[in-house]
Amino acid sequence: MTQEDESPERPAIHVSLAPEVDEHFFEWISFGAEEEGIPCRLEDADESGGEADDVAALAYATAKNSRFGVGVSVTSGKVAVHERHMPAAQPVIVTEVEEDYARQVCRMAGSNAARLVIGTPLRLDDKL
């Protein structure tokens, strides 16, 4: 029972990665969402259409594509969680991605994106 689903119609948290970002980042984000029971879907780079170097703009475009209205995006060095009602330039959470903690940070972002969907308090500082 995996949570990945290729149908764009199915409600899911959408994830977009800047071209230079490794696909592993999507996997790590999806683990965080899976633990909370919410599916994730990776968007193609051209689908989101945001500025690939602006993590907030990319995440906003991604959130607008999601039927949950929640999107996560990763650019080099940053991961952002966005919600479609938020001002475009103001993501819900932006975190710096340091090499050593990339996995935890991405999983946390996925977990928080799922929490936005299910309505439970976000984890803003503690580690997974």
Binding site: F31, H85, T120
Partner: protein, 615 residues
Amino acid sequence: MSIIAGVDIGNSTTEVAIARIEDGGSPEFLSSGSTMTTGIKGTAENISGIVQVLKESMEAASINMEDLELVLLNEATPVIGDVAMETVTETVVTESSMVGHNPGSPGGEGIGVGQTTHIRDLEDSDSDDSLPDEPIIVIVPQDYDFEVAADIITRALEAGVEVKAGIVQGDDGVLIANRLPEALPFVDEVAHIEKVPLDMLAAVEVAPQGRAVQQLSNPYGIATLFSLSSEETGHVIPIAKALIGLRSAVVIRTPESDVESKQIPAGSITFMGENQNLDIELEAGADAIMDTLAKVEPLSDVQGESGTNVGGMIERVRQTMADVTEKSLEDVKIRDVLAVDCQVPQQVEGGIADEFSTETATGLAVMVDTDRLLMERVAESLSEKIDTPVELGGAEANTAILGALTTPGIDVPVAIIDGGAGSVDAAQFQKGKPVEHVHLAGAGNMVTLLIQNELGLERFEVAEQIKINPLAKVESLFHIRHEDNSVQFFDDPLDSGLFGRVVLVKDDEFIPIESDHTLDRIRTVRQEAKRRVLLRNSIRALERISPSNNIRFLNFVAIVGRFGLDFELPQMLTNELISFDIVAGVANVREGLGPTNAVATGLIINYCQQQDEAA
């Protein structure tokens, strides 16, 4: 013609009324004011607050301070209250033998029974003979990544090992369960997984979403899973009790599993009345305690059995009161007691995942008499400070009644209810009779104590805030749902730290409550605390002052002071008193001041009446 001021120093606020009095006439009120009381009521520190609010009120009436001819000070309610709480039962797990908690997301569902086995014992799946051949519960510490763990367990299952369930340290339960070929229950977020004993028989239960564990919260369920004798079943009752209402749980059978709910010798209370003395065990519960008290009344003092919890509790209160009133311990006489039962979450001694068990506790509020010397000292120093005569202007109960009678639509016979942190006060007045009044133990601080203990809050201040502010749930980044179910939207996004939380609505600010309690739970605890202390005491007080102790003989009841300012208590009281067929509501002093300023206003009216009588 003269200008006089009425000043009421309360525990929290100091209130002022300014009036002009024609010779032999009735007062014409010019202005009112209020400020935070500076220092403890009845001490010299009060002066700076009084002077400040007097100046402000005089300015508002466009009168110079020099024209003020007389200041009337309240004779403070001569009682002080204190509260204490003691747990009557306690659950102790001396051998680690259960895990029960509500992690956000356990994995899978169902029940599994087997020997607790470390995941490293499954790694070597190639040589069949080294693998366990009995049903097992796999233990997964945090240093095993969930993919690695799922892989090891999958291969063990394929090799024929009967893995029945798992206990996981990290927040990985769902991730592991989702990666296995069959659905198995996994309890996760078990912080002290190293305390789980290995090679012991254990049962893991994960309930379906929206349900609580059935088998492990039932003593017979545990007996069935572990084939227990009737005697052994008796020993698991505390475990079953601690697991009630949880989504996931583990029970581990250790050889000398010694879990017991032990009764602390709570001790007994002796009520010493003017006519007789009666003892009552604290364990008998609040109702029995209050019934015993009613038989003994009028009360002259209270003693707790020495060497017991209640003995210590009453002596602590007596000591506090002795310190405040500067009396010797023997002279501190307890004049009233309110006992309230409550259910308090207590951390289980020896638990593995910070389990809590609900224990019975009893809260006691007590009240002692103080003397009036304190206010006389304040009057003297105030008089020196402002160079104006200052008099004590009548007992608080009388003046509060006179103030409340300025409320439109009210008439005698009238009763008032007032209350503060320590006591509930009531007074009753009929034409041609002296004012009857009573002070009862248990008020605002008791409510706060109950809220704090029943919700398991660390800080008194948080409970205090919960008491006085309504709740809301932050449902999205742009809207909250108030506790009355109405929804409020915002143009700008709320702080993401508030998302999903229960918050207190304080003016335009939202204060998150750092606890896992739902809004409904917090509201129920808050309202029940007010009901059990304030409502109950208000009724008890009205009964005492009513003719023939029957509330129905009262016609009008007015709520004054801080009780009238609470956001829900007045409605609760009105609702309750309607059944007695009396008009009850919040006073509206001088047709506009609401429940405040009753005493300050009454001081001036009282003065005028006395002038009248003298003339």
